[in-house]
Symmetry: C2
Subunit: 273 residues, 2 copies
C-alpha cells in the first residue's frame, strides 16, 4: 500500500512527524533481539467551562482548543446557541478554558446536581440524549463509490496510526473527499476534535460523511447526530444500542467497511450505486 | 481455528449465549442483500459509593457487582483496607450500590472538592496515581511458552467477541491457564470486572498474568499494577505513558502478542524461555 504523496485535498491532515506526538522506545522481541518502536504520547488535558472543571481527558495533545470545544458541544454542555467568547489553552498547566457570554444551562444544572450527589458524570448521557429530541437529519444521497474511495484515501494517508499504531482516527468527509482528519488515543477525542473544528468554522454537517476507525457505540452515533451529519462509517463493528439510536434518528450507519465490503445497519436508502 | 470444546479450566468463562448480552439485527451488504448479524448490547449502569452517585458506565450488563466493585477499587475510590458491607444491584433502575462500614477517604475528598469545582472526574487520575506510590510488584518468572499457550487458548474460547465482535476482553491467568475471562463494550469495564472478582474472592495478583485485547494505555497499566499483577499482555499496541509507568513500577509489559511474536516494552527480565 503506497502512501498518498499529496494530502493537499485535506483542510487538516494528520501530522505524524510533529514534535511531541510520538516518541521512540526500545522493545525486546520474542527472539530476544532489541529494536526501536514508535509509540504515541498520551497526556492529561483538563477542560474547564468558565470557572468549572469538567473533565481531565487523556490525549495525544494536538488541537486542544478543538478538543475542548467539541467535547463540551458533543456532551450537550454547550448548546448550539451558547455564545462562546473565548477558548484559552494553557500548555504549562495542560488546561483549556472555554468561556461563554452567559452561564450555560449545563452549569445551572450542575450547580443543582452537586448539591445532591456531588458528581456530574451521571448527568452527561441524559444531556446528550436530550439534544437528539426533534432532530431531523437531511436526506443527502451518498454514492457507494464514495465509500470505497474514502476508505482507500484514508488508509493511504500518512498518519500517527500508520507510524505508531494504538490510536484512533475520525475523518470529516464531503462526497469522496476527506477534509479534516483528527487522531487521538481515545476514539471520542478524535470525533470531539472534528466537532470542535466544525463549531469553530461554523461548518454544516448536512452534506458530510463522518468516517471513524473506532466502534459504532451509542455515544459515537449520538455525537454524529448532534453534529448534524447524516452518515457515519466505520471499519469496525457496532453495538445494538448504536444501531437502535441510528434507526431512531434516521442516520445512515455503516460498519465493517473494508475494501468493497460493508454492513449497513440503518438508513440504507441514502446509498445509491 | 477450532473453538475450545472444553472450557472447564476457567473459573469464569464467557457465556455468549446468555440472554440479554447480544441481539440479532438486519444488515444490508454492499451488494444489496440483507442478512442477520449478531450485535452486543450496551446499556447504562449507574455506580454508587454509599449515597454518592459516582458514574454511569455503558456496559453489556453481566457481572454488575464485580464491575462496580472493580471500578471503585481501580479508581482509588475504595482503598484496599476499606471494609465493604454490601454490594447491591438493582436491575430495574440499573444501579449498583457499594456500601462501606465507614465513609471512605474518597467521599471526604469529594465533599471538599465539590465545594470548589463541582465535579469529581478531574480528581480520579490523581487518586489512581497515588495508589502506585511505594508499590512493589513481585519478581515472578514467566515462561515464554505460557504466553503462546494463553494467546491460543483465549483466541479459541467461545466468546461474545467471536459471536458478535465490537467488544473487549480481559482475562486473568495463572501460568498457562486462563482463569477468569470478562468481556465488555468498554475495555476498562472488562478489566474492572476482573478486579471486582479478585477483590470479592480475595485473590492475590502476585502469581498472575493479565491478558487484554485492548490497548496498553496509562490507565490500563495503572489498573494492572493496582491489582498487584506483575505481567500485562495485549494483542494490541501501547502508548508512551503506558510504557513509562510500567517501567517505573517494574511491571512486565508485553504488546502486539500474536502467535509466537510479541514486543516487550518493560520488565523483560521476568521472561524465561
Amino acid at each position: 500500500m503506497a502512501l498518498l504523496s499529496d494530502v493537499s485535498e485535506y483542510i487538516i491532515a494528520p501530522n505524524p512527524d510533529a514534535p511531541g506526538l510520538a516518541r521512540t522506545v526500545q522493545a525486546v522481541a520474542a527472539d530476544g533481539t532489541s529494536r526501536e518502536v514508535r509509540v504515541v504520547e498520551e497526556r492529561p488535558l483538563t477542560i474547564y467551562l468558565n470557572s468549572r472543571e469538567i473533565v481531565t481527558a487523556m490525549t495525544i495533545g494536538d488541537h486542544p482548543e478543538y478538543l475542548a470545544l467539541g467535547f463540551l458541544s458533543n456532551q450537550g454542555m454547550l448548546a448550539p446557541n451558547d455564545k462562546i467568547t473565548g477558548v484559552d489553552y494553557d500548555a504549562e498547566v495542560a488546561a483549556v478554558v472555554v468561556r461563554t457570554a452567559v452561564e450555560t444551562s449545563h452549569e445551572a444544572k450542575l450547580a443543582k446536581k452537586t448539591r445532591t450527589s456531588g458528581c456530574a458524570v451521571g448527568t452527561v448521557f441524559g444531556d446528550m440524549m436530550e439534544g437528539l429530541e426533534g432532530l431531523e437529519l437531511p436526506k443527502a444521497d451518498i454514492r457507494q463509490e464514495w465509500l470505497y474511495t474514502l476508505s482507500e484515501k484514508i488508509n493511504r494517508t500518512p498518519s500517527l496510526y500508520l507510524a505508531a499504531g494504538a490510536i484512533h482516527g475520525t475523518i470529516l468527509c464531503q462526497a469522496d473527499r476527506p477534509l479534516v482528519y483528527m487522531e487521538d488515543v481515545g476514539r471520542h477525542n478524535a470525533v470531539d476534535k472534528v466537532a470542535g473544528w466544525m463549531r469553530s468554522e461554523a461548518v454544516s454537517g448536512a452534506d458530510k460523511i463522518l468516517y471513524t476507525t473506532g466502534r459504532l457505540t451509542s455515544e459515537m452515533v449520538i455525537k454524529c447526530a448532534l453534529m448534524g451529519i447524516p452518515v457515519l462509517v466505520s471499519r469496525s463493528g457496532f453495538t445494538a444500542w448504536g444501531v437502535e439510536i441510528a434507526q431512531q434518528v434516521g442516520l445512515t450507519l455503516i460498519g465493517r467497511a473494508k475494501g468493497k465490503r460493508y454492513e449497513c445497519l440503518s438508513g440504507a436508502q441514502r446509498i445509491v450505486s
